[in-house]
């Protein structure tokens, strides 16, 4: 139960990480991240997903 506030509050942190490593918008209008930022963002997404799965263990 106590994991859920952490999980929900970690979502804006992911956006802050993405904003730190975003590159200027190209001609296609798609925002791209630097390779380091992409790796860090994926690590953050993986951490959040694992936290979500641990928080979901109380269903079982």
């Amino acid at each position: 139960m106590y994991f859920w506030p952490v999980v929900y509050l970690s979502l804006p942190i992911l956006n802050v990480i993405a904003r730190m490593f975003v590159q200027p918008v190209g001609d296609d209008g798609v925002e791209r991240l630097t390779p380091a930022g992409d790796t860090i963002l994926w690590l953050g997404i993986g951490t959040v997903v694992i936290l979500t799965r641990i928080a979901s263990m109380m269903f079982s």
Binding site: N15, I45, S60
Partner: protein, 167 residues
């Protein structure tokens, strides 16, 4: 003067519940049946003649508590409430996370693409499996007391007391 036999009461056990309907029917016909079983047989067969006489019905309310009594049980209330809240939290998180991933960064999202996110669920399962195994080893195969620790302590205490009193 012939003394009447004492009223017989039957408790619903697991062995009786695993019997087939035919076995239950013969058991009910040969013995005094409870009120719930006689009503069930009448519904299944559709004939009112199966109902036993009123004087033969032995109502044992302590063996089969009603739904209202179950809902009044305090640990069950807490478990149902926490399950309801957890369902809301889990479902809303799934929706919010999906929206966050596909929203552009300047609008507060992560600007991920469908192609890049399609492989994340299997990867999360691969990453999560050692965590789950470690937690199951820690708590002995049962779920960890993350949900409602006080309710689980009370529930485990009740179960331990029931094991001690059961012959």
């Amino acid at each position: 003067m012939v003394r009447a036999p004492p009223p017989r009461s039957y408790s619903t056990s697991r062995a009786e519940s695993l019997k087939t309907p035919r076995e239950n029917r013969t058991h009910a016909d040969s013995c005094t049946s409870t009120a719930s079983s006689s009503t069930l047989f009448a519904d299944e067969e559709g004939s009112p003649s199966v109902k036993p006489a009123k004087s033969r019905i032995d109502t044992n309310t302590s063996a089969s508590p009603s739904a209202l009594e179950l809902l009044r049980h305090h640990p069950l209330q807490r478990v149902i409430t926490s399950s309801f809240i957890l369902s809301i939290l889990g479902t809303s998180y799934d929706v919010v996370f999906s929206l966050l991933c596909y929203t552009p960064i300047h609008l507060g999202g992560l600007s991920r693409t469908v192609r890049s996110l399609s492989s994340s669920p299997p990867h999360s399962d691969i990453l999560y499996s050692p965590v789950r195994s470690a937690m199951r080893l820690q708590w002995g195969g049962s779920f960890p007391p993350l949900c409602c620790p006080s309710a689980f302590r009370q529930f485990n205490g009740d179960m331990a007391r029931a094991r001690c009193t059961t012959p």
